[in-house]
């Protein structure tokens, strides 16, 4: 089938769409990293999933109009990338269940050194108000 002016333009447009789709998909994790400070966005992964879903849709749209291999590869890549990120986000980031201390029990006493090496006891604060202990993973 002769490559008409029209179909060349269609190819050009679809090729452009495929490239935009790839960029949008790759922008997903980048946007997520940039917006980590927002607790809701970080927990839901919305910036990443929103952009990657858009990229996947754009990529599929480009594939619909253009059967060239490079456009199809780009379209499939978007979907695989979205799948890999979804797996990483939900599965790999999962933490095991814990037997954390129960509500209503007495908080175990402790004495630990603070960042200046000074010993700090939980008992130091008894009666002085509520105490919030935040446990960090470690290895900063």
């Amino acid at each position: 089938m002769p490559d008409t002016q029209d179909s060349r333009q269609n190819h050009g447009r679809a090729g452009g769409r495929a490239a935009v789709a790839l960029l949008v998909t790759l922008a997903g994790p980048v946007a997520y990293m940039l917006l980590l400070d927002n607790a809701r966005l970080r927990a839901s992964g919305a910036p990443a999933f929103g952009l990657m879903a858009t990229g996947a849709a754009l990529g599929l749209g480009a594939m619909w109009f253009d059967r060239r291999l490079r456009v199809r590869l780009a379209g499939v890549f978007n979907i695989l990338f979205l799948g890999a990120f979804t797996y990483a986000f939900f599965w790999m980031m999962a933490l095991p269940p814990s037997n954390v201390v129960a509500i209503g029990t007495s908080a175990p006493e402790f004495v630990l050194p603070d960042q200046d090496g000074k010993p700090v006891a939980l008992a130091d604060y008894k009666g002085a108000g509520p105490v919030l202990i935040v446990f960090y993973r470690g290895y900063w």
């Binding site: 933490l95 954390v100 509500i103 029990t105 603070d114 446990f135």
Partner: protein
């Protein structure tokens, strides 16, 4: 919003590392070093083998203790990126009498 109470952070890192983190981020609350993992274990938030080289670390968790020393709330993250928001925690603290 002013709220009375004490914030303590506990990590398994050595004092030197906690000092560096405190200075770098200008943190003005105690960061306690639990290198033996004793306290992390007692509070039930030990994450075995999850650290570099298979070492034990802590699960990301928060425990709220009232002035009588009783645990009145706690949260353990189920995914690494999940943390209670400061607003949610402050709201909890504000419901306490003392």
């Amino acid at each position: 919003m002013e709220q009375s109470g004490t914030l303590l952070a506990i990590s398994v890192d050595p004092v030197g590392d906690n000092s560096r983190v405190a200075n770098k981020n200008r943190l003005d609350f105690p960061i306690l070093s639990d290198e033996q993992r004793d306290v992390v274990w007692e509070y039930g938030v030990l994450h075995q083998g999850a650290g570099p080289g298979g070492s034990d670390v802590s699960l990301p968790a928060m425990v709220l203790i009232d002035c009588s020393g009783t645990i009145i709330w706690r949260h353990v993250s189920q995914r690494i990126q999940d943390r209670p928001t400061p607003e949610a925690v402050l709201k909890l603290v504000s419901t306490l009498d003392s």
